[in-house]
Symmetry: C2
Subunit: 127 residues, 2 copies
């Protein structure tokens, strides 16, 4: 079961991270996600981390890399579902996730993506 | 990280099963899901099993129980993302998932839920 599914939700992609990330899993997630962005022309990626009780510097860096990959493929990444304890740890680790937008839950993350696409003037993003 | 998150997607709930289900995890998922249905008044539940390579009779039964619980709380369950090998196994095990609707992916599952709510004449479900 070692695979993190990338789910298509309308015009966006959703990745729900529930298992401990290790190098191999991260590589396969990056492959999957970038090929899904290419295939589906998704303009936004939602990464849900509500199942994660701990985010260490490896996961923090990995999320940053994924967001950067999505960005160069013209998709915006929003991190959703962060627990309060995770926010505290991230800042204490000195990782303030520059360049990654966040939202409290998937609904708010999708609203943020829609707004940012509308602001960018992409007519295909209008509901 | 032993928890399966229940994500709110507009008027529906999404559960993406990625880890091996065991008794305790199933109990906590059932608790979470039923309390989320109560809190959010969700009319539909999407269970994504695209990460599962194997579905044994325990998982099959569990999915049936979850769907039955959702049904008595007036929510429809749609199972999405089933792999071909899983479909073969399920039928070979004699589990044809009576009473659970299925769809190929999350998008199609959401469309199915919307249609079934419209047919039921629920005006709040209209887009």
């Amino acid at each position: 079961m070692e695979q993190i599914p990338v789910l298509k939700l309308g015009e966006f992609l959703l990745v729900s991270i529930q298992v401990e990330l290790h190098d191999e899993l991260v590589m396969s997630l990056q492959d999957d996600l970038t090929s899904r962005i290419e295939r589906t022309h998704a303009k936004g990626v939602l990464i849900d981390i509500s199942a994660l009780e701990i985010v260490d510097s490896f996961i923090g860096r990995t999320l940053g890399h994924i967001a950067a990959m999505a960005r160069v493929m013209d998709a915006t990444t929003v991190l959703v579902g962060m627990r309060p304890a995770v926010a505290i740890t991230l800042v204490e680790l000195g990782m303030s996730l520059h360049g990654i937008r966040t939202a409290l839950d998937v609904d708010k993350g999708m609203a943020l993506l829609r707004r940012s696409l509308e602001d960018a003037g992409d007519p295909s993003s209008l509901p």
